[in-house]
């Protein structure tokens, strides 16, 4: 399974329709593909290229720029341990070493059962709650060795806290439905004279002044 399922393809086409330039939907469709498969497969990038009318090389060029698009299969849970300054000062290096030992993989690797991918990441903007980590981009804060062990056990067994974390790639548990009128931008690019938000957010005109 790598190309979009029929349901997802229909959704992808609706997403493309929201943009005046189809290519603008590249990143949303990459997210959709990653949600479907847990990672962005080559076939999926080809399918995205077909849907937005560009070449697969352009989709790969865009997707490979972003850390959060995984171009190779990852575990059900992506465990990102921050090792930037605040977290490191509060023991992140030890946490990472402990996680590597407990999981039996180095940072960047995936456990043999395909459950957990361990990553050593830069600042995740949770310095006040250091040391922090993320499971599938959901925060776990003020982690200590015992909490890490418990978290890993839960993720491995799929119980306890594991239920808080949807599989890797899931964008949101609540789906927002956009109405047909709520398009990204309805003015064709050739006709735009200024960004649309200028008009939308126009300051109230001072009627009385001349």
């Amino acid at each position: 399974m790598a190309r979009f399922s029929p349901d997802n393809e229909a959704l992808a086409r609706r997403i493309v329709d929201r943009y005046p330039v189809a290519k603008s939907a590249t990143i949303p469709l990459c997210h959709l593909a990653q949600e479907q498969d847990g990672y962005l497969a080559p076939d999926a990038m080809e399918h995205v290229a077909e849907l937005v009318g560009c070449t697969p090389a352009e989709v790969l060029g865009t997707a490979s720029f972003y850390e959060m698009f995984k171009l190779h299969p990852v575990g059900r849970y992506c465990l990102n341990i921050c090792t930037n300054i605040s977290c490191r000062l509060l023991g992140a290096s030890e946490l990472l070493a402990r996680a590597e030992e407990r999981l039996g993989v180095r940072a960047g690797g995936t456990t043999a059962d395909g459950t957990i991918t361990l990553e050593d990441v830069e600042c995740i903007a949770a310095c006040t709650e250091a040391p922090a980590l993320q499971v599938n981009y959901r925060y776990v804060e003020r982690v200590d060795a015992a909490a890490l062990d418990a978290l890993i056990d839960d993720l491995r067994s799929g119980t306890g806290r594991a239920e808080e974390f949807p599989p890797h790639g899931t964008l949101g548990l609540v789906r927002q439905e956009l109405g047909p009128d709520d398009l990204a931008n309805v003015t064709p690019p050739g006709e735009q004279v200024e960004p649309v938000w200028f008009a939308r957010n126009a300051a109230p005109t001072d009627e009385g002044a001349s």
Binding site: P42, E46, C54, T55, A57, E58, V59, S64, F65
Partner: protein
């Protein structure tokens, strides 16, 4: 760098100060160009004058002061403005250049001694000229798998890449083939393709030429020579009729490389890969190297030139002039074509002469008022496109038209039998049924739109094109050519006749073979004299030549029909291969059977050469001096760079030698003399004497004023047979032609033949892509896989000429205006 700034006309001058010197520049032009034009060259890697600037490499930083104090700014991104003060070599600039080069070299390997670019490398040269001189880098450099094949023609050594965005910009901006892209981020960024999707652009070789380092190399040149061993000469490419300016580069008398030269009116430095790499055929083992005579048992044996020429002279002398015919010549230089025209018409006295093989355009199209490529691409103009798929036949013309449509507001209206590569850039288009183009043309020229439509085109679609034509600001340019080899050339003439009624209209006739226009202009066309005048309308040649034909002779198809009827005893083939190219295989076969003496001048043993009685080896492009005329009528120099193999010689030498043996008093013995003799007798060619053409880098355009266009008798409208599909036979760039088949790197690139049908017909037949179909014509049948395409109108079958494994011309018949075929499940 070899690129030159684009020539511009200064219409709005402003004065800026560069290095303390006031200079006058065009307001808004890029600072980097303005400085270069005024002898203040600024080093650069990413900037290319034919592409949008990106400010990527930072090498062109200069100090610019616009009143707020000097600041370092990338000169490729700064438009000139009044009173700018620019320092290009101050201490701060030098320091910035040092720094930029140090960063670029941090990750760049120092493998110059084994790098193909070494010796002509902008990174190497500019490091020497502007760099810090010494490296502080002691760490290990990056290593990548090398080289990787990003296409069959282009190899990539990623560790050498400096990420200037030239190749990727070229691919997306110039050709719209964005098959290479920056992948990954930061210091891991690399240029690459999508896995399994190679950079198979027709223009991929240009990326090698514009790469400022040795990251991209072309397989035909990689490790073949060092730049300082190459000898170069500027010439014109004659692979197709666009006439791109090139440099021919050779080492030890072997052609090794061709690069594009920036000719503003023509190719803007770009070349297609067929033009760039088909020189490999020059070095082919298959070249004919000595004259050959057919033995009674059918084998060939080598003979001496003097003996061969005597045999040919005897054959010419012994025949009634009306029984002599000359076919081909559109690959020759102007001078060779003229020499052969003068020999055939002025010495032998036959007018059965045709440079084209029924697949080009009759000489009459050159009587229409002409347009140059620049005229057609003039900003804001309107173009009616009635030609073949330009990307397949005239690739660089495609780049020019695409650029015009995308960036210069030129509106292209397409009137072609199937969709072409131009379709995405056209504002409107209709698909007339083959054979009925003239009806559509007469509507476009001002006729009424019948409610039921014309030639299979619905009235609404025609209205769309008419509206666009009506909105045209100024005169319309018409590009006419042969989009369909299965349709008679007369159909195109009839359409041109209708369209010539449009006010101020000008025509760009597009023919594919390199010098077809030059050959016709030099007199290799029935009913024409050198210079293009009609027989009998001119007395220069009748007073110069010992004999002049009195009545117009046959064209190619007529010559073959006459030969098949036993009316031709000596047939000369000038690089022509009628068996492979004429749209009537049976007719050619009968003709070659019945002619007493077939003399073939060719470089390769083609199918027709194998049927000849006498074979004379000739020199090809890169081995002969002379001039060539491109599709616009632009005469430019072709130059010899290497010597022909064996005893092969230029075609004009053979003609002059034969004339001498036939007792003609004809004294021209050099190409210069031949050119000047031709120009002296042809007012239309005024200004194109040898000296004038030799001095003009961009060539000289002949007089394009129209003169009495006569389309001749109108072609009958073919009947529609509702059980058949009408055939469209077109060409692709990589076909099985002689040059490509003998170019090692290009030979494997042609596509697998298919039969293209419309979505509607596919549904009716119940077939999808790949289903085997039988295409049955009156003359024969082919079995090919189906290709279902929305670009093909219903009722049409699309085949491609001369691909390995398919022989569509075997279906054609010379006397049909259009060809109908039955398509059935195999």
């Amino acid at each position: 760098m070899s690129e030159r700034p684009r020539p511009i006309e200064v219409t709005d001058p402003v004065t800026i100060t560069v290095d303390g010197r006031p200079i006058e520049v065009q307001r808004g032009e890029l600072l980097i160009d303005a400085c270069e034009r005024n002898d203040a060259y600024i080093p650069r890697f990413c900037y290319h004058p034919r592409m949008e600037p990106v400010g990527m490499c930072r090498m062109c930083l200069v100090e610019v002061d616009t009143g707020r104090g000097p600041a370092l700014q990338p000169s490729c991104m700064i438009p000139t403005a009044p009173d700018m003060v620019v320092e290009t070599a101050s201490e701060r600039v030098t320091k910035a250049q040092d720094g930029v080069l140090e960063f670029l070299l941090a990750n760049h390997p120092l493998d110059c001694p084994v790098c193909d670019k070494g010796g002509e490398c902008p990174l190497q040269d500019q490091t020497m000229a502007y760099g810090p001189g010494e490296s502080r880098w002691v760490e290990e450099k990056r290593h990548y798998e090398k080289p990787i094949e990003i296409s069959p023609l282009v190899l990539l050594d990623r560790e050498r890449c400096i990420l200037c965005d030239r190749c990727t910009r070229f691919a997306s901006e110039v050709t719209d083939d964005p098959l290479i892209h920056f992948i990954n981020r930061g210091s891991n960024t690399e240029v690459n393709t999508f896995p399994g999707d190679p950079f198979s652009s027709y223009f991929s070789g240009n990326t090698v030429q514009i790469c400022p380092v040795g990251a991209l190399t072309a397989t035909p040149y990689r490790f073949r020579a060092r730049p300082w061993d190459l000898e170069r000469t500027e010439s014109t490419c004659t692979t197709c009729s666009v006439g791109c300016r090139v440099t021919l580069e050779s080492s030890r008398d072997r052609m090794l490389r061709i690069n594009g030269v920036d000719s503003d009116p023509v190719n803007w430095s770009w070349l297609c890969d067929a033009g760039r790499f088909s020189f490999e055929a020059t070095n082919s083992e298959d070249r004919l190297t000595e004259p050959l005579r057919r033995n009674p048992d059918g084998s060939f044996s080598g003979i001496r030139w003097s003996e061969a020429l005597t045999v040919v002279a005897d054959a010419l002398r012994g025949s009634d002039p009306q029984r002599v015919a000359v076919l081909g010549g559109s690959r020759l230089t102007d001078e060779s074509a003229y020499a052969w025209a003068a020999l055939a018409k002025g010495v032998v006295g036959t007018d059965h002469v045709d440079a084209q093989l029924g697949d080009g355009l009759p000489a009459a199209v050159f009587d229409l008022p002409g347009a140059t490529i620049d005229d057609v691409c003039r900003p804001g103009g309107t173009v009616l496109y009635l030609g073949p798929d330009p990307k397949e036949e005239l690739p660089v013309l495609f780049l020019r038209l695409k650029h015009a449509a995308q960036r210069d507001g030129v509106r292209i209206l397409e009137v072609t039998p199937t969709a072409t590569s131009l379709t995405p850039y056209a504002v409107a288009g209709v698909r007339p049924r083959p054979g009925e183009l003239a009806a559509v043309a007469s509507v476009l020229a001002g006729g009424d739109v019948p409610a039921e439509g014309v030639a299979g085109v619905p009235a609404a679609e025609l209205e769309g094109v008419l509206d666009a034509l009506g909105a045209a600001d100024g005169p319309v340019s018409v590009v006419i050519g042969r989009p369909n080899l299965a349709e008679s050339a007369q159909v195109v003439l009839d359409a041109a006749a209708s369209l010539s009624a449009l006010p101020g209209v000008r025509f760009l006739p597009v023919v594919r073979r390199g010098n077809a226009r030059g050959a016709v202009t030099a007199g290799l066309a029935p009913g024409r004299l050198p210079g293009g005048a009609r027989l009998g309308s001119d007395d220069h040649w009748s007073s110069t030549w010992s004999t002049v034909p009195t009545a117009a002779g046959h064209d190619a198809l007529g010559i073959l029909a006459a030969a098949a009827a036993g009316e031709i005893s000596t047939l000369v083939l000038l690089g022509a291969d009628p068996l492979s190219d004429v749209g009537d295989r049976a007719l050619v076969d009968r003709a070659l059977e019945r002619v007493d003496t077939i003399v073939a001048l060719d470089a390769f043993p083609t199918a027709s050469v194998r049927r000849a009685d006498l074979v004379l080896p000739v020199a090809v492009a890169g081995e002969v001096d002379g001039t060539t005329t491109n599709l616009e009528g632009r005469v430019s120099r072709v130059r010899a760079k290497v010597t022909p193999p064996g005893t092969a010689r230029a075609d004009w030498v053979v003609a002059v030698e034969l004339a001498r043996r036939l007792g003609a008093e004809w004294t021209a013995r050099t190409v210069e003399a031949l050119r000047d003799e031709l120009v002296a007798g042809a007012p239309q060619l005024a200004g194109t004497s040898w000296a004038q053409v030799d001095a003009a880098d961009d060539g000289v355009v002949v007089d394009l004023t129209g003169r009495g266009f006569d389309p001749g008798p109108t072609a009958p409208v073919p009947q529609i047979d509702s059980y058949s599909l009408r055939l469209v036979l077109s060409r692709e760039l990589y076909d099985g032609g002689e040059l490509l088949a003998r170019s090692e790197s290009l030979a494997g690139l042609s596509r697998t033949p298919t039969v293209g049908i419309s979505v509607g017909d596919a549904e009716r037949l119940g077939v999808s892509d790949g289903t085997a179909l039988i295409v049955r014509g009156e003359r024969g049948s082919l079995t090919l896989p189906a290709r279902v395409s929305s670009g093909i109108p219903r009722g049409t079958a699309h085949l491609v000429h001369r691909l390995e494994g398919s022989d569509p011309i075997s279906l054609l018949s010379a006397d049909e205006v259009a060809c109908d075929v039955r398509v059935e499940l195999a």
